[in-house]
C-alpha cells in the first residue's frame, strides 16, 4: 500500500509527467522501428481509422487493421484505475454532442493526417508540415478556451452502473479477439490491408504490451495534449505541457538513434504539403477536443476509467473516420487547384459551424443557485 501511495505521489509531480512524456515518445519511436508506419508509432486518430476500416465501415484498402495499441490504451488505463481505485462508472453529460465532437475531431484530424500525438511524432521525425498542424491545434484550442471562459459547459455527468463503464473495455476485448482469430466472413470482413500503412505494424504482443504500459502511465498522470495547450493558454499552467514537450524530446532522441530522422516538407510519410488544410483540419480538431475536454488519447484513458461519455466520443471518432474515407474528406496529396480538393474543406467548415453553435449556446451556470452553498 505504501508503494502505491509513493507511486501516486510521483506521478502527480513534474518529474512524473516528464518521465511519462519521455516514455511515450520513446515507445512511439520504438513502435515505428518495430514496424508501424512512418512517423506513426502511435496515432490515436489513424489507428481508430484503421479499426473502422478493418470492420468494413470504410473500404479504403490501405488503411485497414485492428490496431492493438488502441486496445492496450484502454486496458492499461482500466488496470491503473482498478489498482488505484479510480474506476468510476459515469455518464450523462450531453453524450450526443460528445459523439458529434468526436466525429468532427476525427474529420479534422484526418485532413491533417494525424491526431495531436502524431503531430508531435511527425515533428519529432523532422516533418515540417506538422508545424502547421500544431499551429492549427493551438488556434483551435484557443477558440475553445474562449468558449470555456464564457461559460460553455456540457453539464454534469452522473454516477452510473458498472455496465456503463465496462462497455468500451469489452468492445476492445472483442476487437482483440477479432485480431487474434482473424475470421474471414462472406462479406470479406475482417479486412486487413495487404499494402499501405494498414499493412505496416509491429507484432501484436509487443504492441499491446507497450500500449498497456502507456495507458497505465497516462491514466496516472492525466497526460493530455489538448489539455497541455489549453492549460497554458487559459491559466498559464505548464504541467501537462512539460509532458508533451518531453514526449517530443523522447521521439526526437530515439528517432536520431534509430536513424528515423528525415527533415523536410516534401515526401514525408503519410503526409501532404497543403499547409492551409493542415492548419484548418487541426483547428477543427483542436476546437472539438477542447469542447469535449480531452484529446483522443485522453478520451481512451477516460473510457478505461469508466467514463461512458468519453466512450461515446471514441465511437464518434470511429464513425467520423468511416465518413472521412467514404466521403473523401481525408488528406491526400492535394492538387494545386482548390476546386479539386474534394469534400475536406466543406467538412471542416461544417464542423466549425457545429462547434461555434454549441460553444455559444451550451452554457450552464455552474455558479447558479444551490451550487455555491453559503454558510
Amino acid at each position: 500500500m505504501n508503494v502505491l501511495k509513493k507511486l501516486k505521489g510521483f506521478f502527480a509531480t513534474r518529474y512524473g509527467i516528464i518521465f511519462v512524456g519521455l516514455s511515450i515518445g520513446i515507445f512511439a519511436s520504438l513502435l515505428q522501428k518495430l514496424g508501424n508506419p512512418g512517423n506513426m508509432g502511435i496515432c490515436v486518430a489513424c489507428f481508430e481509422r484503421d479499426i473502422a476500416g478493418a470492420l468494413g465501415f470504410h473500404r479504403a484498402a490501405p488503411v485497414q487493421y485492428i490496431r492493438p495499441e488502441i486496445i492496450g490504451f484502454v486496458f492499461g488505463a482500466l488496470l491503473a484505475a482498478l489498482i488505484f481505485k479510480e474506476f468510476k462508472p459515469r455518464a450523462g453529460s450531453a453524450p450526443v454532442i460528445r459523439f458529434m465532437l468526436g466525429f468532427f475531431a476525427m474529420v479534422g484530424a484526418l485532413v491533417f493526417l494525424g491526431c495531436p500525438w502524431r503531430a508531435i511524432i511527425r515533428l519529432g521525425g523532422g516533418d515540417g508540415n506538422a508545424i502547421f498542424g500544431i499551429l492549427g491545434l493551438v488556434f483551435g484550442v484557443g477558440i475553445g478556451t474562449y468558449f470555456i471562459r464564457n461559460g460553455y459547459s456540457l453539464g454534469r455527468n452522473h454516477k452510473s452502473h458498472s455496465a456503463v463503464g465496462s462497455v468500451l473495455p469489452l468492445v476492445m476485448l472483442g476487437l482483440l479477439l477479432l485480431l487474434i482469430i482473424k475470421p474471414v466472413l462472406s462479406s470479406g470482413a475482417v479486412f486487413f490491408s495487404k499494402e499501405g500503412p494498414g499493412s505496416m505494424h509491429a507484432g501484436i504482443l509487443i504492441a499491446i504490451i507497450i500500449a498497456i504500459v502507456i495507458g497505465f502511465l497516462a491514466q496516472r498522470t492525466r497526460f493530455c495534449t489538448m489539455g497541455a495547450v489549453r492549460d497554458v493558454l487559459m491559466i498559464n499552467d505548464w504541467h501537462l505541457m512539460t509532458g508533451v514537450l518531453s514526449m517530443l524530446v523522447g521521439v526526437f532522441i530515439m528517432n536520431a538513434i534509430f536513424g528515423q530522422l528525415n527533415f523536410g516538407f516534401v515526401g514525408q510519410p503519410v503526409a501532404h504539403t497543403n499547409q492551409l488544410l493542415n492548419f484548418g483540419g487541426m483547428v477543427l480538431s483542436g476546437l472539438s477536443f477542447a469542447l469535449a475536454g480531452g484529446c483522443p488519447g485522453r478520451q481512451l484513458f477516460l473510457s478505461g476509467e469508466g467514463d461512458g461519455d468519453a466512450a461515446v466520443f471514441v465511437f464518434g471518432m470511429i464513425v467520423g473516420a468511416a465518413f472521412a474515407h467514404n466521403f473523401t474528406t481525408a488528406g491526400t496529396p492535394y492538387p494545386d487547384n482548390p476546386a479539386n480538393w474534394g469534400w475536406g474543406p466543406a467538412a471542416i467548415i461544417a464542423g466549425l459551424i457545429f462547434c461555434a453553435v454549441i460553444g455559444f449556446t451550451m452554457k450552464e451556470r455552474v455558479f447558479g443557485e444551490g451550487v455555491v452553498q453559503h454558510a
Partner: protein
C-alpha cells in the same frame, strides 16, 4: 461554514476554472471548500490552488464509484 463549490460530475477543465475564479475573489486567511468526485479533478484543483498561493487540505470520503474529495482551500 465556509462556502462550498460543488463541482462533482463536471469534466475537465471546469473544476479548475471555477475554483480559480473563487480563489481570485478571496483574500489572505479566507477559505472555501471544493467538492469533486474524480482523482483528476482533485489533483488539478489542488495544483492550481497551490500555484495561486493557497494551502490545500483534502478529506476523502466514500470508496470506489462513490468516492468523493473535499478540498479545503485557504489563502495564505
Amino acid at each position: 461554514m465556509p462556502d462550498l463549490l460543488d463541482l462533482r460530475g463536471l469534466s475537465c477543465p471546469q473544476p479548475v476554472v471555477e475554483s480559480r475564479n473563487m480563489i481570485k475573489k478571496i483574500s489572505s486567511g479566507d477559505s472555501f471548500h471544493v467538492l469533486v468526485d474524480t482523482g483528476t479533478s482533485r489533483d488539478n484543483v489542488k495544483r492550481i490552488a497551490v500555484k495561486e498561493g493557497c494551502d490545500v487540505a483534502i478529506e476523502e470520503g466514500g470508496s470506489g464509484g462513490e468516492q468523493e474529495f473535499l478540498l479545503i482551500i485557504t489563502m495564505r
